[in-house]
Amino acid sequence: MRNIWTIAKREYDNYFNSPLAYAVAVAILFMQGIYFALILYVTSQQAMMGGGAPETTPINWLFVFLMIFLSPALTMRLISDEARMGTLELMLTAPVRDFELVAGKWLGALLFVLSIAAITLIYPIVVNNFVQPGIDWMVVLSSYLGLILVCSALLALGTGISAVFTNQFAAFFVTLGLFFFLWFMVSLPAGYLPQGGDVFNYLSLSDHFAQSMNQGTINLGDLVYYLSLTALGLFVGSTAVEIRRWR
C-alpha cells in the first residue's frame, strides 16, 4: 500500500509539470463554466414563469462525458512512456509489485482528476446560496460519488491499456475507441434483440451514471459495474507489465 501511495504521489505531482494535463483541466473547466452559465440563464428565465431552481447535476454529467474523450490523454503515457524511456526497468527492479506500480499510476491519475472535480464543487455552493431553501445536497453527493466511480473505471482501463503499448498514441486511440464503444455503442443491440438485450444495456458506461447516481439513486448494480471495470483495468495493467518481463 505504501508503494502505491509513493508512486501515486509522484504521478500526481508529475501532472502539474505536464502542459497536456493543464490543457485537459482547462478544457473541462471552461466548458463546464459555459454550461453552468447557460443553466443559470435558462432557469432564471423559467423562474419568472414559475419554474424550479437550477440543478447542478447536469454539470457533472458533462464532466463525465468530457472524460470519455479527455481521460485517454491523461492515462496514455502512464506506463507506455516508462517503457519507451526505459525507466520501466527502474520500476521493475525496485522492490515494487507489478500491481502496486499499476495501481499507483491509476491512483495518481484519479487524484488529479478529482482535484479538477473538486473545483467544480463551487457550482452547487453558488446555487445553494441563491436558492431558498437551498439545494438537495444528497443528490449532489450521489452525483459526485457516481462521478468518482466513472472516473475510477475510465482511468483504470486507460492505465491498463497504457501498459500494453510502448507507443503512447497507440494507447490513446485504443483507449478512446474503447470508451466510445462503451459509452455510445454497446447498448445499441439492445434495441434490436427480442430478448436478452438488457445485458447490453447493463454494459453501457453512460446509463449507470446518467440514469441513476446522477439522479440521486444509488444501486448496488451500478457500484458493482464501475468497481468491476476498475478491477479489470488494473488487472489488465498488471498482467501486461508481467508479460513485458517475459518478452
Binding site: 509513493t6 509522484r10 508529475n14 524511456m85 526497468e89 527502474l90 527492479t93 522492490p95 517475459w246 518478452r247
Partner: protein, 307 residues
C-alpha cells in the same frame, strides 16, 4: 552472495545466454567482460529480477531471483546500462522517490549522503534533464547505492564519464567492494584489470573463462616477460641475454629494447642484469610486462590470429 547455475535465456529463437554458471562472494568485485551483445546485460537483468530466465537458477543474497524476486530486489542496487531516469524530475526528488520505494528511514539525509558520495551535491536541485551524460551516470549510481545494498550490479558503470570521473567512480566501486559484492560489466579490458578481483570472460552467451586477473595472465603465458633497455646500440644484447640460464625466449624489438621470457618462479633478472653490465652496456630499464587483458581476450575468444 551471487550463485548462478545453468542460466539460459532465449529471446524468441535467439539464445542470448547459454548455460551460464558462476558465483561471487561477499567483499568481491567480479568483472563481466565481453564484447557488445555477449550477454552481459541479459545476465544482469535476470539477476536484478527484471526478467526471468528461460532455464537455470540464480540466487542473489540467498534468494531465488524468480521465486523470491521482491526479496532479491530489496537487496540489490542496480545501475542499468542506459541509465534510465525521469528527466522531468529534480535530482533530489528523484532519489527521494526511489528511496521511499525502498522504505529507507530518514530518506532526506540518506539522499544527501549519497549525493555527496558521487559528487553531485551542488546539482541536487537541478533537473535531471539538464545534466550531462556523466552526471546522469552518477545519479544512476547514487540511486543504486541509496539503500546500502548487499549486492551491487553495475552495467558499464564508467561509460560516458570523463577521465577524472572514471578514476573517482572506480575508486568508489573499489571502496564499496570491500564489504559488499559487486558485479560489474565492461567491455574495457583495462577497467576490469583495474578494479576487479576476478574476471568472467563472456562471449556469445557463454562464459569462456573465469579467474583472477593475475592468474589469467600466468595461465596464458606460462611464464613472465621482461623488457630490457640499454643506452646506445645493442646489436649483441639479445645474444648476451640468451646465454643466461633460465631464459626461455628472447626477442629484439624495433626500438632497440629486448624482451625476454622466463618460467614463473625462476627469476633470472639479477643474473641477466649482471651479464648485461659485464658485457659493457649501460642498463637503463629492466621491467616486467604483463599480458594485457586485451591480448588474453583475443587469445581466448579466438577472434584474432594476427598476433
Amino acid at each position: 552472495m551471487i550463485k548462478v547455475s545453468g542460466l539460459t535465456k532465449d529471446y524468441g529463437a535467439r539464445r542470448a545466454i547459454n548455460n551460464v554458471s558462476f558465483d561471487a562472494q561477499q567483499g568481491e568485485i567480479v568483472g563481466f567482460l565481453g564484447p557488445n551483445g555477449a550477454g552481459k546485460t541479459t545476465t544482469m537483468r535476470i539477476l536484478t529480477g527484471y526478467m526471468p530466465p528461460t532455464d537455470g537458477e540464480a540466487l542473489v543474497a540467498g534468494y531465488d531471483v524468480v521465486e523470491e524476486s521482491l526479496e532479491v530486489r530489496k537487496r540489490v542496487g542496480y545501475l542499468p546500462e542506459t541509465v534510465p531516469l525521469y528527466t522531468d524530475m529534480v535530482v533530489f526528488d528523484y532519489l527521494k522517490f526511489m528511496g521511499e520505494l525502498r522504505h529507507i528511514p530518514n530518506v532526506d539525509d540518506r539522499v544527501d549522503e549519497v549525493l555527496d558520495m558521487v559528487g553531485l551535491m551542488d546539482r541536487s536541485d537541478g533537473y535531471i534533464g539538464n545534466l550531462s551524460k556523466g552526471m546522469r551516470q552518477r545519479v544512476g549510481l547514487a540511486q543504486a547505492l541509496l539503500h546500502r545494498p548487499e549486492v551491487l550490479i553495475l552495467d558499464e558503470p564508467t561509460i560516458g564519464l570523463d577521465p577524472g570521473q572514471v578514476v573517482e567512480v572506480r575508486e568508489l566501486i573499489r571502496e564499496i567492494g570491500k564489504e559488499r559484492t559487486v558485479l560489474l560489466s565492461t567491455h574495457l579490458l583495462n577497467e576490469a584489470q583495474n578494479i576487479c578481483d576476478r574476471v568472467l570472460i563472456i562471449n556469445n552467451g557463454k562464459i569462456i573463462t573465469e579467474d583472477t586477473t593475475e592468474n589469467l595472465q600466468a595461465r596464458l603465458l606460462g611464464g613472465e616477460r621482461v623488457i630490457l633497455r640499454v643506452r646506445g646500440e645493442a646489436d649483441e644484447l639479445a645474444k648476451t641475454i640468451k646465454q643466461v640460464k633460465g631464459v626461455q625466449s628472447v626477442e629484439s624489438k624495433e626500438d632497440g629494447a629486448v624482451e625476454f621470457e622466463f618460467a614463473s618462479g625462476k627469476d633470472v633478472r639479477p643474473e641477466v642484469a649482471k651479464q648485461v653490465i659485464k658485457a659493457g652496456y649501460d642498463l637503463l630499464e629492466l621491467r616486467p610486462i604483463g599480458m594485457s587483458l586485451e591480448e588474453i581476450f583475443l587469445e581466448l575468444t579466438g577472434d584474432s590470429k594476427k598476433k
